[in-house]
């Protein structure tokens, strides 16, 4: 039998040695040296391709900064946010993270992210209209790595196959819809025109901008009315159920791939940096990009969005090392050449200049150059809870295409959820 005294002694001894061990592992300070480097953690979402490129970039960073080691790991996009939520709840976010605009406000406003204005990051080579998209209430929380812009993708080979002309590049919504209808008729059930474009939040957002409406107000409310959304969803009501739009059950079948990547549709409206993924999914040789339709030829509502941002945890112990790593990832020309357009078009000029773009990379860069004259300031980071709203937007549209809702029902349903989210986060 263990006597109480012996038991307590043993426990005490164990505690002391554990504490000693912990003390040995603890960092001596906030900065490291080549002999005793500090280790920062970095996490990103993506696939194997991005992982390989990131490892290369980290190796270059460690060579240039021998006093810092970077411990990296990644997951896919869906799992990424669930993991961050859990870490934030436990107070243990990684030191540096790849970030998405949709979640910037959720985390920044709840004091989870480091104010990057308090550390040294060079933003001289950035377009000044882009930087506000990483800022909330005047503080910078995220630095864009790269940009993407909204576009209509189409597959020229399929158009040729069914004998429909390629779009000219500027078009009204009526012309765009007529084009989808023509594809639907000529495609004869083998190819559909495109996905229901009214179900894409960002396309709706751009349409609002074309009409001079901001999607969200500065105090975190909706900037548009039920009537706006009703008008928007009604724009496609004559196409739903025809071959101009891919049927809901067909696109549900091919998930998680897109109908466009699965060769069901001839066009798709989305961000221009999806090029490589679409080419791989569909096996097409070439895909082209044109600006999305607008009824006002002078205002396309387009903007450059940071395709991803770099942020740091508010609780990081190594602010200096984290800042140097972010600076390196967004500015270093070698990094630009490693990633090309796989993160989007590099945001800083030094990275663009240090890279040669060829083939599909060139097509994406050329598209962003071609729309340069239409670009306006990017919208502010969306409201807290935006991730939920965007998912609901997509879901309500899917239900609409399944015939579960009328347009009026869909509008009511989305507004109900939006008001609930806004109330929750007020």
């Amino acid at each position: 039998m263990i006597s109480r005294r012996k038991f307590l002694t043993a426990v005490a001894a164990g505690t002391v040695s554990a504490a000693t061990l912990a003390a040995c592992g603890a960092p001596a300070g906030q900065t490291g040296s080549a002999d005793n480097p500090v280790t920062i953690t970095y996490t990103w979402w993506g696939n194997d391709d991005r992982a390989e490129r990131t490892r290369k970039a980290i190796a270059v960073f460690e060579k240039k900064n021998p006093d810092v080691k970077v411990n990296g790991n990644f997951t896919d996009f869906a799992g990424y946010w669930q993991k961050r939520a859990t870490e934030a709840a436990g107070g243990g976010l990684p030191d540096v993270m790849q970030w998405d605009l949709s979640y910037l406000r959720d985390y920044a406003q709840r004091n989870q992210l480091l104010d990057l204005g308090t550390v040294k990051i060079n933003t001289d080579a950035f377009d000044k209209t882009l930087l506000p998209s990483g800022q909330i209430r005047g503080k910078t929380y995220g630095i864009p790595t790269s940009t993407n812009a909204f576009a209509v993708y189409y597959d020229p080979a399929k158009l040729k196959e069914i004998g429909v002309a390629e779009p000219a590049g500027t078009w009204t919504y009526a012309e765009y819809k007529a084009w989808l209808t023509k594809i639907g008729q000529a495609g004869g059930g083998k190819y559909f025109g495109g996905s229901d474009f009214t179900g894409i939040w960002w396309q709706f957002n751009i349409w609002l901008r074309q009409k001079g409406i901001d999607a969200f107000t500065g105090d975190g409310k909706l900037g548009f009315s039920k009537d706006d959304l009703r008008t928007w969803l009604n724009m496609n009501s004559d196409l739903r159920g025809t071959n101009a739009v891919v049927p809901a059950d067909r696109s549900a079948q091919v998930k998680p791939k897109s109908p466009f990547g699965s060769n069901l549709t001839v066009s798709e409206n989305t961000w221009d940096n999806f090029m490589a993924g679409y080419l791989k999914d569909s096996g097409a040789k070439e895909l082209k990009l044109v600006p999305i339709p607008s009824d006002d030829p002078e205002n396309l509502g387009l903007f450059l969005k940071p395709s991803m941002l770099m942020v740091a945890s508010a609780k990081t112990k190594y602010k200096d090392a984290a800042a140097r790593f972010i600076d390196f990832m967004v500015n270093d020309p070698e990094v630009g050449d490693i990633f090309k357009t796989s993160r989007g078009v590099p945001a800083s000029k030094t990275q663009r200049d240090g890279t040669t773009f060829e083939g599909t990379d060139k097509a994406v860069v050329d598209y962003e150059t071609s729309i340069g004259k239409y670009l306006k300031d990017a919208p502010e980071p969306p409201i807290v809870g935006f991730g939920t709203l965007e998912a609901a937007f997509l879901r309500v549209n899917e239900d609409l295409n399944y015939g579960k809702f009328t347009v009026d029902g869909a509008v009511d349903q989305w507004f109900k959820e939006a008001e609930d989210v806004i109330k929750q986060n007020a």
Binding site: M1, V11, G14, D106, Q253
Partner: protein
Amino acid sequence: MTQTLTRHSGAPAAAPPARAPRRRGADTRAGYTFLLPWLLGFILLTVGPMLSSLYLSFTNYNLFEAPKWIGLENYTSLFQDERFLQSVGVTLGYVVFGTPLKLAAALAVALLLNAATRGQGFYRSAFYAPSLIGASVSIAIVWKAMFGDSGPVDQGLSFFGINLGGWVGNPSMTMPMMILLTVWQFGAPMVIFLAGLKQIPQELYEAASVDGAGRFRKFVNITFPMLSPVVFFNLLLETIHAFQIFASAYIISNGEGGPAGSTLFYTLYLYLRGFSDFRMGYASAMAWLLVIAVGVITLIFFRTSKSWVHYSGDAK
């Protein structure tokens, strides 16, 4: 410390069974010492989280900020949430149709396998295999591919002139698909049924044969009543199990519960509320409602079981 423990830990077992109160106290202490690792795990990993989830269910908690007490608001707003009601409907449909079908399949196959035939061992393993691998992610992926557009199931049915198209994208076919998946995994209840069938005394069948009873009569009057405790056990276990369906629904619907909410199972919606919408208080309330619902259903089962479950040695 390890040394101290090993030197002393042998003592209680070696000690003679003592009756003196002082020794008994020591035995108790030793017992608790040995129990400690499990007890700690139970308290820290089960009771603790359950209590904190009970507390959180009365709060508005977004994972980042301290929970705000809102009383019963989560519970009341649940019943105005159409998605919540839909998830209840979907789950109940799955439990009500899936569980009896699964048990019927398990019992039918157990009866077949109970007969002494050649290659019995092989068949038993073959039928049991799906329930071993059934909960895995890979099977859900295979299932999705099988029932997809122009997948094997679609092709096979077209051969017989039935054109249903892909099941995965059709809201009215996803539930039959999910039920087929669970029915196919009947291995675990089947093994328990087999064990139960072995327990039935052969004399009863012989006596019935003498009285001229046919196969059907034997089943109704001997097999089922004798097996009823096992049926009850399986029914209870599989019902509780069915309420907790998550992984296959998550995979087949890409974690969305679609198409048109037709696979929005209770636990899937709970998960989405907690980790995608950052509504952990709401999710906790849902979890507790599930605990209560399953508890009530179990209670009803036990109450009604008296009329149809027969234990050998019962007065009935």
